[in-house]
């Protein structure tokens, strides 16, 4: 071996043994990925939100407060943002009892079908949200499955308008987000020792009391995880309001996309995004005061 290659190998070895080099590879590469492609671009949003929007989508790098004046100048955009968070909240309040019930069922059932039933929930995670959302169109429409069934039973005389309304949109949102509640609740409930519940009952607790004072508190980590995902995803929903909601139910995510991709007004889209982002940040801060964020995020990777 020539001395040059020897030296090269030695340098290589020393590099491989260097703490900093090894840190940069593991875990540094993943951190760099996130910092360079998420955190750095987020700072660009701040910058762009103070730029001037020129004609035909041009961006003039001149400092202005016009974007924020437009945003807060009328009630239009604050209402859209507030409504999105409200819809996030309402969706979460519907998903919670439904998802909890199925998660609880899966956690406590002794059925031989359990692996299959669990698998059916996991499958929901794999199917793209766009399919699970638009699938409601032929169901909720005036000629749709629901209306036909109700007409046939005789419950209604005229088809109900369900599609392109708030209830229709909520149905799509709720069903698409149910797995985010079911799986973490299942994971939490299935770790509860049956003896603990039995002990409470032996000591005289009714079924309800045993549930409220033993099972429910012990499944709290799952609930918290489900709430986090449901709320954030529902507040930022794009597909349900676009495909199932009415023209009056505008939500923040489609509005931002419209301003950016439709009007090419990047500075205003940046200002909207920043305000929205900060409010998500505030929600997350409030969340961390009650629960552990890392633990909650782990909840979906069961």
């Amino acid at each position: 071996m020539s001395s040059a290659t020897q030296r090269a190998t030695r340098v290589q070895d020393r590099l491989a043994d260097n703490r900093y080099v090894r840190f940069l590879l593991s875990p540094g590469l993943g951190l760099l990925w996130v910092l360079a492609l998420l955190f750095l671009p987020l700072t660009i949003i701040v910058l762009y939100s103070f730029y001037t929007a020129g004609e035909f989508g041009a961006i003039v790098p001149e400092f202005t407060l016009a974007n924020y004046q437009r945003l807060f100048g009328s009630s239009t955009y604050p209402v859209i943002i507030a409504k999105s968070f409200l819809i996030g909240l309402v969706t979460t309040l519907i998903v919670l009892p439904l998802g909890y019930t199925l998660g609880y069922f899966l956690g406590r059932t002794e059925s031989t079908w359990k692996p299959l039933l669990l698998g059916l929930v996991v499958v929901q995670f794999w199917v793209p949200i766009i399919i699970r959302t638009y699938a409601w169109i032929p169901i909720l429409g005036t000629e749709g499955v629901v209306n036909q069934a109700l007409l046939w039973i005789g419950l209604i005389n005229e088809p109900l308008s369900l599609l392109y309304t708030m209830p229709g949109m909520l149905v799509g949102l709720v069903v698409s987000l149910l797995p985010f509640m079911i799986l973490p609740v299942y994971a939490a409930v299935s770790t509860i020792d049956d003896d603990v519940i039995q002990a409470a009952k032996t000591l005289g607790a009714s079924d309800w009391r045993a549930f409220w004072e033993v099972t429910l508190p012990l499944s709290w980590p799952g609930i918290v995880s489900g709430i986090l995902f449901t709320f954030i995803i529902a507040a930022g929903a794009f597909l349900a309001p676009e495909l199932l909601g009415g023209p009056g139910e505008r939500m923040i995510a489609p509005v931002i996309a419209d301003v950016f991709l439709g009007d090419f007004n990047w500075p205003f889209a940046a200002a909207l995004s920043l305000v929205y982002f900060l409010l998500i940040g505030v929600s997350l801060y409030l969340f961390t005061r009650k629960a552990d964020l890392e633990e909650a995020l782990e909840g979906v990777s069961v």
């Binding site: 499958v123 499955v145 069903v175 930022g236 995020l297």
Partner: protein, 264 residues
């Protein structure tokens, strides 16, 4: 016997939840065989007509192929980067580790619209044109937290004395990883890759910012079809995407089980 009644109520609600999750998917699949354009449900007869039209439409086939390519590349990138990161976070001690975990997981928390918009502004500022590489880079970002968590939870269970034994016997870091660590955690890495593929394949909200005419993906085409031309071909495309996103993970899990089964 309140307990039994309560349990029956739980079962009833659970059944309804299953119905609400699966009926829509069933309707999509059945409608892809529906002879009429304006579908009333259930159809009176079934046809393969729209499948014929679908497979004659090069644009749709290209979109499915693009999603597949991007999904596979994302699976590889997110699998590799997620594994490296998880190893670093589990094995090494460094300052503000707890905070850096949140940084790793933050792509789950930032709304996809903002992820899409911010990166588009950033790349445009850098002068980087939309391309398949752009899609793979960003899909890797979105899938990374999931891949990271899956591999990390496996590493938490890992018996580190196995690695120490290998090193006592003279193996260097790389050999230890290749001969000891990797074979043990490879099922978790495979799961991470499958989940990354599925996430990439179905992602829409952020992806709509990243596609160009040449790199359009299946979910974006579905959305465009829903917004513009009403054609039952969309049900065929959706059915195909549905089958792919369900079949790939199941095939992956079968592969895992086969690999894990003891060989004679």
């Amino acid at each position: 016997m309140t307990g039994q009644w309560n349990w029956r109520a739980v079962k009833l609600v659970s059944a309804l939840v299953y119905v609400s999750m699966f009926v829509p998917l069933l309707v999509v699949v059945v409608n892809s065989f529906h002879p009429q354009r304006m579908a009333s449900f259930p159809p009176s007869s079934l046809t393969l007509h729209w499948y014929g039209e679908f497979f004659a439409d090069q644009m749709l086939l290209d979109a499915v192929w693009m999603s597949t390519k991007v999904g596979v590349a994302t699976a590889i990138c997110a699998g590799a980067v997620g594994t490296l990161s998880a190893m670093g976070f589990v094995r090494k001690q460094f300052p503000v580790k707890k905070g850096l975990v949140i940084v790793m997981l933050s792509p789950m928390l930032v709304p996809p619209v903002i992820v899409g918009l911010a990166s588009t502004m950033f790349f445009t500022e850098l002068g980087w044109e939309r391309s398949i590489l752009w899609l793979v880079t960003m899909h890797t970002l979105i899938a990374l937290p999931y891949a990271f968590l899956i591999v990390r939870s496996r590493l938490f269970l890992f018996d580190e004395s196995l690695e120490e034994a290998a090193q006592t016997l003279g193996a260097d870091h790389l050999t230890t990883f290749r001969e000891v660590t990797f074979p043990i955690i490879s099922p978790a890495i495979l799961t991470a890759m499958i989940i990354s593929f599925v996430i990439s394949f179905g992602e829409f909200t952020a992806t709509q910012f990243w596609v160009s005419r040449e790199t359009t993906t299946a979910p974006v085409v579905i959305y465009t079809m829903l917004e513009t031309l009403i054609t039952p071909k969309v049900n065929v495309l959706a059915t195909l995407v549905l089958v792919i996103t369900i079949a790939i993970p199941i095939a992956g899990m079968a592969l895992q089980r086969w690999l894990a089964s003891p060989t004679e």
